[in-house]
Structure formats: C-alpha cells, structure tokens
Symmetry: C2
C-alpha cells in the first residue's frame, strides 16, 4: 500500500536508543512522531527472527515437541522451531532446527509464509516451512541447555488439541492454519 | 500433567530480578535450575495480558483494524485487541476495547479460549472472545496516541488474506482458527 495513503496511520522515528542489552533480549526505546504531529515513545524488542516447521511423517502425523517455557512456567505442546543465526539462510535454519530438536532430516521442503508473533512490542518474524520425506538420523543434537520431548500428532488431533486448549502457543496455531496447504498436490 | 512426570523438562527459579522497567516493557532476568541440575539464565517480558475479539456484524463480516505497528514499521491488518487493565475482568476488557477501537457494542459474547503469543520470552496471554449482535455507537473513543482504521472482511476473505500473506499477525491468525466455532448453533 502506498505510504501516502496511510499517512494518517504512520509513525516515524525521531531518535532510537538501546535501553537494555541482555544475553537474549535487546530492548530499544524510540522517540516517534505520531500521525497528528505529536511525539510519543515506543519500546520494543529486537529479535533475529525464527522458523517453525510442519514436519509430516510418512504416516501423515506431525512432529510436535513438549517443552518447558520458563516465562509461563509450564510445558507447552508446540511445533519444532528456533531462531535464525546471523546471516543464515532461513531454509538452512529450518533444516538445522528440525534435525537438532527432533533428529529428523527431510527430503522435501516447502516455504509457506511468514507470521509476526508479537507486533505490539517485538520485531520478531517467524518463517513457516513444511517438510516431508522424513528420515530419522538416530539421534537429536540438542543444545546443552535444551530439554524437550518429541511427540507425534495427526493434523486432526492437533486441531482438536487447539479447540480443547491443549495447544495455546500462537506460532503453532498459526502454522496449523496452513496444514492443508502444505503439500496440496 | 503431573509435575513429577515432567521433571526431565522443568526448570525452577533460583533468583529473579527486574533488569529493565520501561514505560511499556518490564524485563526480568532469572537464574534457573535446569533439569540436569546445571544453572542457566532466562530473560523475559512481564506482560499484563490482553484480549482479542472476533466481532461478527449482522452481515456475517468480521471487524478488522488497519494499524501501524512501530516495531515492524508497517501497517498490519488485525482483529480488535487490547491490554487488560490491572484487576479488570477480561470480558470487561473485551467490551471496552471493542467499543474504544471500533465504536461498536455487542449483545452476545462468547469466551473461546486463550493463546500465548510469545512463549520464548514473554508471559503474555491473549484471551479470545467472539461477539455478535453488534450496535454502532456513532463514535470510537481512541486513546489520544492511537490511530487506526476499521475495515470489514468476511471470514472467507480473512482466511484468503492469511494464505496470501496479507494477514501475518499471529494473534489474528490464531483467533481465526476459532471462527467456525464462535457461534456454532
């Protein structure tokens, strides 16, 4: 859409500074010009981006993970996912994360699209992939600080798990939106 | 699930401190005990929680908003949503945000479920509501720093917009997962 058309919505940067630089989280605070000409402040996370994978086993089931997520202090049922390394091609990230977390390689990859998990306070994007032709390598290769359990769920069971409140992770629900479009042929 | 069952996944808090307190963002850094007994660090956002609303007009269309999101510096097409005020009942939040942002009241409300947009680094939850029996009040009541445009999209057009990459906001995609289940009778 033309910028001019949206001038009644657009905020522009006046100044930007890093206000917190943690090991994981980088926070910026910008002074911005609002559409009405006034000034305001926006705080947000800078994130390197991530991928999520709909990985279909030959039996049609999807690979899921059970993983403890510290901010919410409970185990979540979610699709394989992980952060993009600096300069890394996103398909390489997808292959790497699937292998590291689940121990599977895949012969056939499709790029499906992108989602934005947290538009109010993070610039994170999550690139959505589908994979099939899975081959088990015999072992996963988790980071020494990563602990997770791999489980299989059919697409129908996964949808039911959303409606039953057993899957609440928004990247997983959003990726499941694509499940019938993953390999349509 | 029993805590004991998941002891191979669970991380426990050793110490917790506030490391950044912005106007919007509150960041904590915790020292944690990993399942293997080692120590690590977790940084995460504390968030008050939010609501999102599938608001059905009498013609079957859903209310959407076009809003500039500063972290990504572009306009997003998204469902009405907003943060829960301290101590506020979530249905009150949903009614308040729908009225403030779109100018509509609704006669019939349903609670659908909860999602978690950012489980890696935020404790945010988003409570999902559906509303129908909409009545236009004649005006919206936006915060002085809020600028948005209200648009209508049929559920089918909204799904197509996801697959075409025109809707990438994960809370919106996740809420659309519930569209047929909003008022099933």
């Amino acid at each position: 859409m033309a910028v001019e058309q949206d001038s009644h919505l657009i905020e522009s940067e006046i100044a930007s500074e890093a206000v917190f630089e943690g090991a994981l989280l980088k926070v910026r605070r910008d002074r911005v010009r609002l559409p009405n000409g006034q000034e305001s402040v926006r705080e947000y996370i800078r994130h390197p981006g991530a991928v999520v994978v709909l990985a279909f086993l030959d039996n049609g089931a999807l690979l899921f993970e059970r993983q403890f997520r510290y901010p919410l202090k409970r185990v979540f049922l979610e699709l394989p996912a992980g952060k993009i390394d600096p300069g890394e091609d996103i398909l390489i990230t997808a292959r790497r994360e699937l292998r590291e977390e689940t121990g599977y390689l895949a012969d056939d990859w499709r790029y499906l699209g992108v989602m934005h998990p947290c538009i109010g306070y993070s610039d994170e994007r999550i690139e959505i992939f589908a994979a099939r032709g899975l081959r088990w390598t015999g072992e996963s290769a988790l980071d020494h600080n990563e602990f997770l359990e791999v489980v299989e769920l059919s697409p129908d069971a996964a949808k039911a798990a959303v409606w039953q409140g057993e899957i609440t992770d928004a990247k997983t629900i959003s990726a499941l939106f694509w499940v019938e479009r993953s390999f349509p042929e």
